[in-house]
């Protein structure tokens, strides 16, 4: 057997899970979909003494609409983000990002909460939470708190979660009519982690960009939000946008990592192109959405 020995806990409620974490904190790891954690256990990169399996906690699964927001439970699987009509209609970025995660066998197990808590810098879903200013609900021994996506990701594989806290749900704002969305990425093979990727949401009214949200993954140690670019794009006419220039502006302040697959300079070039692609695809889908309502 490859993993080191661990005690296995199978709580049925969030309260039970939190109480196990309160008892074991540093020594415990939460097991959700297991698609990143179990490989780390197999390679003994992680050797937690306690594993807290939250797959049996029914209240953590699925999405529901509440007060103009979509609340998605931590153990909602990528396959559900891809296929659930309510989730896909309310927050199209989840439906667009999910199919780009791993392979379908991975998406049958991997979870939203797991992806955020793992905080791989090249993962899609953390960048979606950044673009949409999602709120992340966590529960610990002293109760529940909400962490803004902007505050949640600290560095590669590191988040604002305390060892005795459980990520329970993510609250996404639902954008209104006239909106379009896109997720664009470059990976060496289908299903690999992306070298770089861009997430875009845009709201178009009377031919102008009313609101735009842009974030990137694989371009730093955490997902990057492109606030300055968003400001300069707001109010701009959608016709005649200089996508190459916009892309270059978007990556100007970023300092992406270099590895065996791509240099920092290459990531910047690819990232600039992806911003342009994501923005134009989102504008196109906003136009299609507008046309479907006309």
């Amino acid at each position: 057997m490859k993993p080191a020995p661990f005690a296995y806990h199978a709580p049925r409620t969030v309260a039970e899970a939190v109480s196990v974490l309160a008892d074991h904190g540093d020594e415990a790891k939460v097991l959700a979909g297991g698609q990143s954690l179990v490989p780390m256990l197999a390679l003994r990169l992680a050797r937690p003494a306690h594993l807290v399996d939250i797959n049996g906690v029914a209240e953590l699964a699925g999405g529901r609409l509440a007060n103009g927001h979509l609340v998605v439970g931590a153990t909602t699987r990528h396959a559900a983000l891809e296929r659930d009509a309510e989730i896909g209609t309310a927050v199209p970025l989840l439906r667009l990002a999910a199919p780009q995660i791993g392979h379908f066998q991975i998406r049958n197990r991997g979870t939203l909460g797991g992806s955020l808590a793992h905080a791989d810098a090249a993962a899609e879903l953390p960048a979606v939470t950044r673009a949409l200013d999602a709120e992340i609900s966590v529960r610990g021994p002293s109760g529940e708190r909400t962490i803004q996506a902007a505050e949640f990701f600290k560095m590669v594989f590191t988040t604002a979660l305390e060892p005795d806290e459980l990520l329970t749900a993510v609250r996404f704002p639902v954008w209104g009519a006239g909106c379009g969305f896109a997720v664009e990425e470059i990976a060496r093979r289908h299903g690999d982690f992306a070298l770089a990727g861009a997430v875009c949401g845009v709201q178009v009214a009377a031919g102008r960009i009313e609101r735009v949200a842009l974030s990137m993954f694989g371009m730093g140690s955490v997902p990057e939000r492109l606030d300055a670019l968003e400001k300069s794009l707001t109010g701009a006419p959608v016709d005649g946008l200089d996508l190459a220039d916009i892309g270059a502006q978007g990556v100007a302040a970023l300092d992406p990592p270099a590895d065996v697959h791509a240099s920092s300079r290459y990531r910047k070039q690819v990232g600039a192109a992806l911003i342009g692609r994501a923005l134009s695809a989102a504008i196109e889908s906003a136009a299609a959405e507008e046309a479907s309502r006309a």
């Binding site: 080191a4 020995p5 490989p39 197999a42 594993l51 379908f104 049958n108 197990r109």
Partner: protein, 179 residues
Amino acid sequence: MPELPAVADAGTEVDVALTVNGQPRRVRVEPRKTLADSLREDLRLTGTHVGCEHGVCGACTVLMDGEAVRSCLLFAVQVRGADITTVEGLAPDGAALSPVQRAFREHHGLQCGFCTPGFVISATAFLAAHPQPTDTEIREGLSGNLCRCTGYQGIVRAVRAAAAELAATEDASGRKGPA
């Protein structure tokens, strides 16, 4: 669903009841034993192959409640009450191969055969969800399994042929219905 004690201590074995290929089974496992190892060692179902053991190669793919999953990324203690199908369950009597298995044989979809159980299980789940797949969808559907012998062309052909055969069977049974 049979209840597991809320805690299983490190190093101690616990009983897990599950359904494998339609049969109720029971295994006694340490928490750290993967489903792949338990299928092979405890249930002697060695058709499920163990390749990379960290979720990359897809050789250990099985169906869990009808969905394809990596059995090396699940612990046996996690599948209590679940319905598992391994490659042995696709041709239960050992004589008649499933349409996907037959297509792999006929279209040179395997050479050494190590990756084949994973491919066959993945393709079976893929075709259930995509009865009329395009070539792009087939390639995407197979992208989670690695083969080091065939160059994949024969595997793609096999899945295309299996899709056609399954569609024809469906048509034939469909015609019988309303008449």
